[in-house]
Amino acid sequence: MLDAFFQYELLRNTFYTGLLVGLIAPLLGAFIVVRRQSMIADGLSHVTLAGLAFGLFMQKKYTLLMFAPFHTGILFSIIGALIIENLRDVYKAFQEIAIPIILSVGVGLSIVFIALADGINTDIYTYLFGSIAAISSSDLRLIIFISLLVIIFIFVCYKDLFALSFDSEFAIVSGVKSKTLNFVFILMTALVISASIRIVGVLLVSALMTLPVATGMRIAKSFKQTIFYSIIYGEIAVIVGLITGYYFEIPPGGTIVITSALLLGLTLLFNKLKAVRSLKKDDGYAA
């Protein structure tokens, strides 16, 4: 079943990218979810779309091929992250307002650039919903680099990030450099989003960061386990989603997220059944 994936280079690149984002999206997502910042991913993904559209526009109108949409997407995502951090500082009491601002500006810019680049075409379609055959070898190399960066960041700063997510005041008193860490964290989020977009698409990239974590949290007993299960769920969703997407000719964004949602549903159901069963068992002892 996997033969086709390894026969063609583009599909092979997609598969490797899938495995990487199935790892780094839930890895970072676990922190995003417990910090109650799930919406940040949505905000940034729409800014990334503006970047992608900007790249397309420059290429189509001015044939400036150096503006590869993938790269302009990363650039916009990073700029978006910087603006969010800045806005959160300006609106200290209403930090969440940064997200709708950045999201709407992202969509607004996207519409303008898409229109200027002659409207919706297949490229934009693949950016919105993800694509099975969009990863060139140089894209893959960049995604490998991003993945390594994220993994090293989490490995080195795990304790600080965990403490900051749980109780920021205690973390700061203990000497965690909260400002720097928050800043690097949101930069990493921007990078993961731009790396994941090729596969799951702009509209669903935040789902890949949050759905596996929502599932993992239900069965994990500790935070480390939450990360572990989230990654397992993320990888299953990506692999199943890519293969079914390929065979049924559906953009993988849809199939990956539906798989994630099914896993979440099954896990919740399983938990429920287990709870009911243990209740019955308790009754049995009591009687």
Partner: protein
Amino acid sequence: MSDPIVTVQNVYHRYDQQTVLENINFNIEEGAFVGLVGPNGSGKTTLIKLMLGIEKLQRGNITAFGQPIQKFKNKGRISYVSQKANSFSRGFPATVKEVVSMGVIHNQRRFLPDQKKDQGLVKSALQKVNMEEYINRNIGDLSGGQQQRVFIARAIANNPKLLILDEPTVGVDSQNVEQFYDLLSKLNQELGITLVLVSHDIGAITTYVTDLLCLNRSIHYHGNPNEFESLTDEQRSILYGHQINTITHNH
């Protein structure tokens, strides 16, 4: 007598146009158990945040262990149990062990830290608060009182000299509050940790603390809690600046 571990001199603080602290002066001696009391909005939390260096000092001087607070490098000497700690824990997927491990974050080198040493510190902290049997439980599954013990363990894991607690009994049910204060007394007397306990409930803490500090924008009383006890309600309310919520506790 050795130098005070914290000195606060002529401290003023304001948010926008509102003055929240006015002419604050006091010292904290090593080994003391200080009760910082005052009604809601009296500036207690602001004052301790200034002492912790979380809030930026606007006017006046604060020193900790002889250094100005702006330059003070903590290195685990001052620890903190925040008001927020309790509200964040519900639903957070973490075990007691993981929570207490946060207390030993910067002990060691970042790469390949000595896990065994950290784990030893975590275990001994949990023993001190009688929670070692809960080490692998989820923090969200514990009662309010148990969670607060875990937060104490986290705060003392690195063997601090000074522990500041902001309203730690919020969310602890009334039967366990007394036990909780007993635990604090034990930390103070047996382990020699200097304590600053912030509370709005003066009646509950006077029997435990060695120093009482009544704050309502400025300091209205600083001294022995027994002397404070002997004052009449009228004298107290003058000291306090306005009416005081005296709750009688019959222990």
